[in-house]
Each structure stands twice: as structure tokens, then as C-alpha cells.
């Protein structure tokens, strides 16, 4: 389970309502393959189960690179972003 970005994992934002986060949580629990994964999901859920906690997570979760070489992995070895126009042009 990719837990580096909890908003992506839960498909939510800081502005999501508590019930939306709860719904996402229930879906993830259903999808969890093992008991340990369920425990992990529950622990994560408690980090973001209120709006205040979601903001707290949002404000503090940005991690700097540990080493400059990580920039290489993040950028160079990743595909380029080319914007929507070039994608849409292929459909013309």
C-alpha cells in the first residue's frame, strides 16, 4: 500500500467532509488484503479523520529530499509532462 500521500490514497483533499473520508476509509478497509493492512489503514485514518487533522497533515507532510540524487529519480527518470494540448491533438 502506498502511504506516502494519504490524500491520494484516500482520494480526498483538506476540504473533504468527514463523512467522505469515512467512506473512503470503509472502501480501503474492504480492499485490504490482510489484517495487518486493515490495522495500517485504521491507523492512517486516525491521522486525517477530522478537518483539523487533515490540515495538520497537509501542512507538515511535505518532505524535502534527503539527498540531491533523489531529484534525479523524481524528475529525470520520470516521463515529461507535456500539457493537455498535445494529448488532445492526437484525437483531432
Amino acid at each position: 500500500m502506498k502511504t506516502d500521500n494519504l490524500f491520494r490514497l484516500f482520494n480526498i483533499s483538506t476540504d473533504s467532509e468527514d463523512y467522505e473520508v469515512e467512506e473512503s476509509f470503509q472502501k480501503l478497509i474492504k480492499k485490504a488484503a490482510s489484517d495487518s493492512e486493515k490495522i495500517e489503514v485504521s491507523e492512517i485514518f486516525h491521522l486525517i479523520d477530522t478537518k483539523e487533522k487533515r490540515y495538520l497533515y497537509f501542512l507538515t507532510s511535505t518532505k524535502g529530499f534527503e539527498d540531491i540524487s533523489e531529484l534525479d529519480n523524481a524528475i529525470i527518470s520520470r516521463p515529461n509532462y507535456i500539457g493537455p494540448r498535445q494529448w488532445l491533438e492526437l484525437l483531432d
Binding site: K2, F7, R8, N11, I12, S13, T14, D15, S16, E20, T50, K51, E52, K53, R54, Y55, L56, F58, L59, T60, T62, K63, G64, F65, E66, I68, S69, E70, L71, D72, A74, I75, I76, R78, P79, N80, Y81, I82, G83, P84, Q86, W87, L88, E89, L90, L91, D92
Partner: protein
């Protein structure tokens, strides 16, 4: 069928669909037809006679597509996208956007799962073969010029970034402060054009490294302010300095909050989150007694309280600024935050101060430090970062 004929057919289907009665068999048939023809969700966003829900879906898809192809993560838009159902006109677009997201995240199983949901009759199925080509799953044999250019642009070499990284490594090895600061500054600006998330992470690394080498981060922070705005620049700086210089980090958290309070869109929840972070930092450095530092901190606290009182009248007014700024911050956080950890910090603070002084909530040493008459005119060990608050 040539391109013009296809376009005309699509336009006619769209017109008929928009004129049909929602829920009728004609509506459902036309919707299924259009679902397999839709090449530009933006066209529906702008079209006449489109219902509110359909226009909203079109806008969500357009925004998500723009964000994902530009490398920007827009959580709000992605959160809205999950509400688009399987029978929506935009369902294949939704799946394509998730597939593109998975492609950039190198989650190829998720990418394939999403792409398989796009029917072969949909024009979007073209991207199935292109994305499979890009990931090496299936190479396209007869590729046209436009498709080749598309693929080339996505995998284009960026060796110049690698050379910039080498320059940064060299500048640190030979302790060339100017070269380090100039190169990181330029790279930061460059990254922010297309990779704002990565630029933020790089900014944290740069400021942290500058601090470790005792280089002045002033220019870097100025670039961050230009690139990300004051609130975000101060937040990134606070994170960068949190381990090496927690006292300075606290000043930047407060600066970030003040900057955010001056904007119109801060909520009580976000303010509470800031206050928790500030309280945590105050707890860590509560024994700091550097006079210049305390002077800067007190100034910022005054500004912060002013902005808080303006924004949330009544919430902080019952907490008066006391001589111990750390105690004040810990106490203030409980006015905004509902988190238990803030109450625990306050209880501990009260218990400890009771033990030390019998009744006061701050130590005599710190109290005397924050009195202006006790602050010396010059200090030989003033941290570089404090210059930012002069």
C-alpha cells in the same frame, strides 16, 4: 470517414442528446453513443443547453486532465472526479485520467486496469496503445509522425538537469557558497515551471543544506516567495529548518500563519492546525534564552495575535500575551485546537511551572530575557536567519 464528417456527426449527436428528455430511451441511447465519441470534454463545458450537473462533470474532467498532464496534483478536482458514474458521458475520460496519473506514478497495474475499462470504439483507446508503448508493454509498429512527436516529448532527455545537479554537488564539495546559491536558485525557478511539487521538495533540501553549511538562505527564501507565495515559502522554510534550527523554524511557522491570516481564505480548522504545529515547536525550544531570538519571537507573536483577533474575534482575546512567549503559544493553541495533545502540553506546562515558581507560569530567566532593557545592542552569535526578521 474523414475528420470533418466525424466532427459533424459528433455535433449532431450532441445536439440531439441535449434536446432529449433525461431518462428517456432516446437519451440513454444517445448518451452511450456520445460516450464513445467524446474527444474534447471542454466542448461540453462551454456548450449551450447543457444541464448544471453535466457542465459540472465536464469542468471537473477538463480541470483534472489539465492538472494531470501538467504534473499538478489537484486533490479537490480528483476528489470530485470519483463522483462521476459509469454511465456518465465522461466515464472513459475519467478512466483515462486515472490511467495517466498511474502512468506518471509508475503504477502500471493500476494504469492497465483503468485503460481496460475504455471500450475499443472510444477514440480514447488510442491512448491505450500509446501508454502501453511508453511503458514497454506493447510497441506500436506503424507509428505516425504526430504520435512519434508525442512519445518523444514525453521521454525527451533532460540531461541538463543532471549537469546542474553535478554543479550543485561540486559547489558543496569545494564550499563555493555563491555557486551553490546561484545554481539552486536557478534550478528552483526552472523546476517550479513544470514540477511544483518537486520544486517544493527541492526548496526544502536547498534551505536545509544552506543552513547546514552556514550559507545565507535569504536569496533562496526570496525565490521561494516569488515562486510559491509568502505563506507557502515560509511553510517550506519552517519544514527545512525544523531539525537543524527548531527555534528559527518556529518563527517561520508563525510568519506563514500571519501571511495566511492576512489572506481571506483561512478557516478555523487550518488555523487550529497551525497552532498545534506552533505549540509543538514551542514545547521543543521552551528553554531558549537568546535575547535577539526572544525579541524577534515576541514581535511576531504580537503581529500574529493582532491578525488572529481580527480574523477570529473572541477566540484569542481571553489569552493575554505573557512574558514567557512559549507558555503563551502553548496556552493559545488550546483556544483553537480540539486536539488532546495541546491540552496535555498545557497541563504539563502548568504542572512544571507550578513546581518551579510556586504560582507563576514562566521561569524567571526567560522573563528577564524578554524585557527590552536586557537585550544587548549587538550580538556576535545572532543566527543568519534572524536577519530575515529585522
Amino acid at each position: 470517414m474523414n475528420r470533418e464528417t466525424t466532427k459533424t456527426k459528433n455535433d449532431q449527436s450532441l445536439k440531439k442528446f441535449l434536446s432529449s428528455v433525461p431518462g428517456s430511451s432516446e437519451y440513454i441511447t444517445l448518451r452511450n453513443e456520445l460516450k464513445c465519441q467524446l474527444t474534447d470534454p471542454g466542448s461540453l463545458e462551454k456548450a449551450d443547453r447543457v444541464t448544471g450537473d453535466l457542465r459540472e462533470e465536464a469542468r471537473t474532467i477538463s480541470d483534472a486532465f489539465e492538472a494531470i498532464t501538467n504534473g499538478m496534483y489537484n486533490p479537490e478536482v480528483f476528489s470530485n472526479m470519483k463522483d462521476i458514474p459509469e454511465n456518465s458521458l465522461f466515464y472513459y475520460w475519467r478512466e483515462l485520467i486515472y490511467a495517466i496519473k498511474a502512468f506518471y506514478e509508475k503504477d502500471y497495474t493500476e494504469m492497465e486496469n483503468r485503460l481496460e475499462k475504455i471500450e475499443p470504439e472510444s477514440p480514447l483507446s488510442l491512448f491505450k496503445s500509446l501508454l502501453y508503448h511508453l511503458t514497454g508493454k506493447n510497441f506500436i509498429k506503424n507509428i505516425n509522425i504526430r504520435q512519434k512527436s508525442f512519445i518523444d516529448n514525453i521521454i525527451k532527455d533532460r540531461s541538463f538537469i543532471r549537469s546542474v545537479i553535478e554543479q550543485i554537488v561540486d559547489s558543496l564539495e569545494y564550499e563555493m557558497e555563491d555557486l551553490f546559491l546561484e545554481t539552486t536558485d536557478l534550478l528552483l525557478q526552472d523546476l517550479n515551471k513544470n514540477y511544483s511539487e518537486t520544486a517544493g521538495r527541492f526548496a526544502i533540501w536547498s534551505i536545509k543544506t544552506a543552513s547546514r553549511y552556514k550559507y545565507s538562505p535569504t536569496d533562496l527564501i526570496a525565490t521561494c516567495r516569488k515562486s510559491f507565495g509568502n505563506t507557502e515559502a515560509y511553510r517550506l522554510t519552517a519544514i527545512a529548518l525544523s531539525n537543524e534550527e527548531p527555534d528559527i523554524s518556529l518563527l517561520f511557522w508563525i510568519q506563514s500563519l500571519i501571511s495566511k491570516l492576512k489572506s481571506v481564505d483561512i478557516t478555523i480548522h487550518e488555523t487550529a492546525a497551525y497552532m498545534t504545529i506552533i505549540s509543538r515547536a514551542a514545547e521543543i525550544i521552551k528553554n531558549s534564552s537568546d535575547t535577539y531570538y526572544l525579541e524577534s519571537l515576541n514581535e511576531l507573536i504580537k503581529s500574529m495575535k493582532y491578525e488572529l483577533d481580527n480574523k477570529f474575534a473572541g477566540i484569542s482575546s481571553n489569552t493575554e500575551i505573557e512574558n514567557n512567549p512559549f507558555a503563551f503559544l502553548i496556552r493559545l493553541s488550546t483556544n483553537y485546537s480540539s486536539l488532546e495533545e495541546n491540552k496535555v502540553r498545557l497541563t504539563t506546562l502548568n504542572a512544571n511551572s507550578g513546581k518551579k515558581t510556586g504560582k507563576n507560569t514562566y521561569s524567571k530567566d526567560v522573563k528577564s530575557c524578554v524585557s527590552p532593557e536586557n537585550i544587548p545592542k549587538t550580538s556576535s552569535n545572532k543566527p543568519i536567519q534572524l536577519g530575515l526578521f529585522d
